[in-house]
């Protein structure tokens, strides 16, 4: 598979109150980003269990991004602070195991930042496309 043909699978977890609304705003403003990004709506970034992220990689995702309200703006006041710690440690561990750190990302996107949402997604898809297929954390059974 050549670089040009490779279409990464990207899972984006978006919190309901800020980032999902930000994604909607990107749509309303017709801001383009690759169709490789598929969004899962969660109430808050703190709902995202590291298990979900590993699950995505297992099932063939090439990149996983978590978007939430900016720290301090969480609808639930403190959720994203916990998410921030959890993801920092998880990403650090993945990196420690030699899994490309560029495949995971956290971005804070507010409901007003439709443009930021599109920019972030374009950038993330570009990064993951350059990395190519996720080989280090794949489950071959799911690739059949």
């Amino acid at each position: 598979m050549s670089m040009n043909e490779f279409k990464p699978k990207i899972v984006a977890f978006c919190c309901n109150w800020c980032s999902y609304a930000g994604a909607d705003l990107a749509g309303t403003n017709r801001l383009n980003y690759p169709a490789d990004v598929k969004i899962i709506r969660v109430p808050c970034s703190c709902r995202v269990n590291p298990l979900f992220i590993l699950r995505a990689f297992q099932r063939g995702a090439d990149g996983v991004i978590l978007c939430g309200c900016h720290p301090g703006d969480c609808h639930y006041t403190t959720g994203n602070y916990y998410a921030r710690r959890r993801m920092t440690l998880l990403f650090s561990m993945l990196d420690y195991l030699g899994i490309e750190k560029e495949r995971t990302r956290v971005e804070w996107v507010s409901a007003a930042e439709g443009a930021k949402f599109a920019t972030v997604m374009n950038d993330f898809v570009k990064t993951v496309t350059e990395l190519g297929e996720n080989k280090r954390l794949e489950d071959l059974r799911c690739k059949k």
Partner: protein, 323 residues
Amino acid sequence: MQEMMKARAKELLASGEVTRVIGWKKNEFDYDITPALFESAEEIDHDFVYDDFCGPNLSKFTFQHQKNDTKTLVFLKPCDSYSMTQLITEHRVNREALYLIGVPSYGKIDVEKIKADGMTGILSIKSEDGDVHVHTLYGDKTYAKYEVTSERCLNCKSKKHPIYDELMGFEGEVMENERFDEVAKLEAMTPEERFEFWRGELSRCIRCNACRNACPACTCETCIFDNPNSGVDQKAAKDTFEENMFHIIRAFHVAGRCTDCGECSRVCPQHIPLHLLNRKFIGDINKFYGTYQAGEEVGQRAPLTNFTKEDVEPDIVAKGGKV
């Protein structure tokens, strides 16, 4: 020390202060130590040991053998003491039903080191005055103790007892140590090298669950990996992904709660350096959120159930992890 401990245990049993004693006993070989419950002076006289092989962390054994209607005496090494404090913090053991005696640990011998040196047919091992005499069918050898001391003891984090009702020996101190050196070495490698390293290690895993079941932080009523309703249960790693998954998630679940007692690596039949996963989290927590030692104090708030507004952003990892 052993005799003092036996005497005190018998005294407390006789006075009725406690009805049960948790300690260690010897099994087939000098180096075979089993955690044990003693209920009489006779049992203590006959079986109780405390020596340089008493590696097993008694806090997990205590957790498994809790009884609320009576008081149990537990002997704790400093490591066990930290684990016990953490269990108390998490309401997993009832402090009221325990009588804790802190005992010093002068470094435990890792028999695997002796075996890895090619020693086999071991008939006896004696640890005396800094020397370890190994007597085998094929000849004898004497080691300086530090040569055969377990990694976790060479890198001892603390000789202090964060909790006790009574202390035997000395009041230890938190130790200077190099326990993060190995982690740093791995961190200095390229991602490819790290990947190869961990694949090599984790691919040996047989998912026997010894690490989990021996771990004093792993006390879940049902582990998610055993729960068919969790959606992530697995009995054996069918794919390399599952090897990674089990160890990442296990390390994550004990992150901020792991006291670095080293039982996981001690019990691993495949010699996987599992403590290096836990230490990575401990090191990161120290670096990102300020030094934190799980089990240092009853009631501490674990780093993953805490935050500050100024916490580092997750992209610190992409930036090389430097704070």
